[in-house]
């Protein structure tokens, strides 16, 4: 089933003159795709991310996520869908201080109906997947930037989301850590995880199998 299916999506912000953040966007992402979205700031990148992440609702068009039409869902339905089908990775990591690494990963299940008994086990498994099993009991403050982002990725992977949505995942990382995170993305891509990475960094986007460019609200796929 197609993970993301955008048809004629538009989003306009009321201003003078109105800002057309997305204009008639069409996009299909199939399971296992590794897609990067590049664009300068102000190009509509963030709006696309918010739309894909069900954090914002388009004014027009249709967005099917994992086969579910999202534009007609109410806030509660989109929240539930977001929690169960999308794993987010942010530039700022958003790890909770004073909570252990494994607790941070397990946080992903707090808003889902899962059994509590094996939650820590699943979190540890996710940590192992990003190569941080040995850091489970650590305070995130004691980890390096790259490790922190990998913890955040582990948190996003808990519950096998249909889509891993990454917003500038390497924005806060140095070159070495960036490389490690991108290697992890490659690995996840090979494991069949559907990845959408939004970035302004050409080097990061070059690692993705598919690349779309957004410019002034219009999306164009770069064929290689």
């Amino acid at each position: 089933m197609t993970v993301i299916h955008l048809t004629g999506v538009g989003r306009t912000f009321p201003a003078d003159p109105p800002v057309h953040a997305l204009r008639d966007v069409d996009l299909r992402v199939e399971p296992g795709d590794y897609l990067s979205v590049v664009g300068a700031s102000g190009s509509g990148k963030s709006t696309l991310l918010n739309t894909l992440g069900l954090l914002d609702r388009p004014d027009s068009g249709s967005y099917l996520l994992d086969g579910v039409e999202t534009t007609t869902l109410d806030d509660r339905g989109r929240t539930s869908l977001r929690g169960s089908r999308i794993g987010f990775v942010f530039q700022a990591f958003h790890l909770l201080p004073h909570r252990s690494t494994v607790d941070n990963v397990a946080l992903a299940e707090v808003y889902r109906k899962t059994d509590r008994a094996h939650r820590a086990q699943r979190a540890e498994a996710a940590l192992a997947r990003v190569g941080l099993a040995h850091r489970a009991a650590f305070d995130p403050g004691k980890l390096s930037g790259g490790e922190r982002q990998r913890v955040a990725i582990a948190r996003a992977l808990v519950g096998e989301p249909a889509l891993l949505l990454c917003d500038e995942p390497t924005g806060n990382l140095d070159r070495a850590n960036t490389g490690a995170v991108l290697d992890l993305f490659d690995e996840l891509g090979e494991q069949g995880v559907t990845l959408v990475v939004i970035t302004h960094d050409e080097e990061v986007s070059a690692r993705a199998a598919r690349r779309v460019r957004i410019d002034d609200g219009r999306l164009s796929e770069e064929l290689r």
């Binding site: 509660r76 929690g83 201080p97 607790d103 707090v110």
Partner: protein
């Protein structure tokens, strides 16, 4: 696939709330301080008030609380029969709750009788003592709670035979120099001789009213010889707790036709007394405690509001992870409720310890109302709930997009 409702278990909510609070223990402690002080003040105030009131009520010991006096109006002519006859006393004693009763005739005319112990006329010294002379029934020592220092009290036989015997109050015996009755000393009251058969011991309680410094005669003898007349006072010793009831019933039992003319002196009701004291002490300090609670609530609200802003990123993350607005609201609400609850528990504990410490230092018995102690944590939680409402709504209203973009 179906789209369910976002859900969150209660245990998860509590876990998250506790984790949120314990992340910054010092700040949480300071946030709690207002509530702790408020609850402490309230518990100390109410506790000390209850303790002090109990202390005051305790002074009305069993002796005082069982004394009822019926005052009978005196008639201009003591020869006339009064509103209460001597024979009415058994009707009173029969009442349930009366332990002992005695009628006393103490007309004004006999308040200053000239009493002496011998008939010797010694011009160099004053041998006459001015003492009140009182006619009584036989139950007087029981009513007064007094034992006999020496000798015995007169009995029904003495009364029936109109015997010329007398019992001296302790004070009167001392004044007259009577220490023993073995040799049958006599006292002369207005020139008439009476044989002293006993001396009354010390009188406890409040019914004495000068009886211990009086010459006590059988009422029949007193009426014959000194025209003491009908009873002027009836003294009643009741069972514990029966005083208010007996105070109502005694006049009717004594004088079914003339009870309205009788005046009853009964001890104040301890419960009323205690309530009055509590009322006095409480007012100001309860206001003080409530003000502290309000300040505490404002403190919690302020800090929670700051925390909400600080944790914008966390709120965004939680929304991204599938938390509904209400989940975010619940979490901040739960955090402030737990802060208030812990503050209430700490405050109640401090308050109880303080009340006990104050009581020990004053050698009082600490008295604590269980509902107050148990209710204090609830009050704290309530303060937290009210204080957390606005910050929780602010947190819930936050847009996840904005929240996630903040760098924290």
């Amino acid at each position: 696939m179906t789209v369910g409702r976002p859900s969150m278990g209660v245990r998860d909510l509590l876990d998250e709330a506790v984790a949120g609070i314990t992340a910054r223990p010092v700040r949480t402690g300071l946030t709690m301080l207002g509530t702790v002080i408020g609850i402490t003040t309230l518990v100390i105030t109410l506790g000390v008030a209850a303790t002090a009131a109990d202390q005051i009520a305790g002074r009305f010991d069993a002796v005082t609380a069982t004394e009822v006096t019926v005052v009978i109006p005196t008639l201009p002519d003591p020869a006339l029969p009064g509103p209460v006859a001597w024979t009415a006393l058994p009707d009173l004693v029969r009442l349930n709750g009366v332990r002992a009763a005695a009628a006393v005739a103490r007309p004004d005319s006999s308040a200053n009788a000239r009493v002496r112990t011998n008939d010797l006329h010694d011009p160099t010294s004053v041998t006459d003592r001015i003492l009140p002379v009182v006619g009584t029934t036989t139950g007087l020592p029981d009513v007064l709670g007094a034992s006999m220092a020496t000798g015995r009290y007169f009995d029904d036989g003495h009364v029936a035979r109109h015997d010329r015997v007398a019992v001296l109050g302790g004070g009167a015996a001392k004044l007259l120099g009577v220490v023993t009755v073995d040799d049958g000393p006599a006292v002369f009251v207005d020139g008439q001789a009476f044989t002293v058969i006993g001396v009354l011991g010390p009188v406890t309680g409040g019914l004495d009213k000068g009886l211990s410094s009086s010459v006590l005669l059988p009422h029949t003898t007193g009426d014959d010889r000194l025209r003491l007349g009908p009873p002027t006072t009836v003294l009643i010793r009741t069972d514990l707790g029966a005083a208010p009831l007996i105070a109502e019933q005694a006049p009717i039992a004594l004088s079914p036709n003339g009870h309205a003319a009788l005046r009853v002196l009964a001890p104040p009701d301890p419960a009323t007394l205690r309530g009055g004291v509590q009322h006095d002490v409480n007012g100001l300090f309860v206001v003080l405690g409530l003000v502290s609670l309000v300040v505490g609530a404002i403190g919690i609200a302020n800090v929670t509001l700051v925390t909400v802003v600080e944790r914008t990123g966390e709120i965004g993350l939680r929304r991204a992870l599938g938390a509904a607005r209400r989940h975010v609201a619940y979490q901040f609400l739960a955090e402030s409720v737990v802060v208030g609850l812990i503050g209430g528990v700490l405050g109640a504990s401090t308050g109880v310890v303080s009340v006990v410490a104050i009581s020990i230092s004053r050698e009082w018995t600490p008295v604590l109302d269980l509902p107050i102690v148990a209710g204090a944590p609830v009050a704290g939680a309530l303060v937290g709930l009210l204080a957390g409402l606005y910050p929780a709504l602010r947190a819930a209203r936050m847009q996840p997009v904005d929240a996630l973009r903040s760098g924290t």
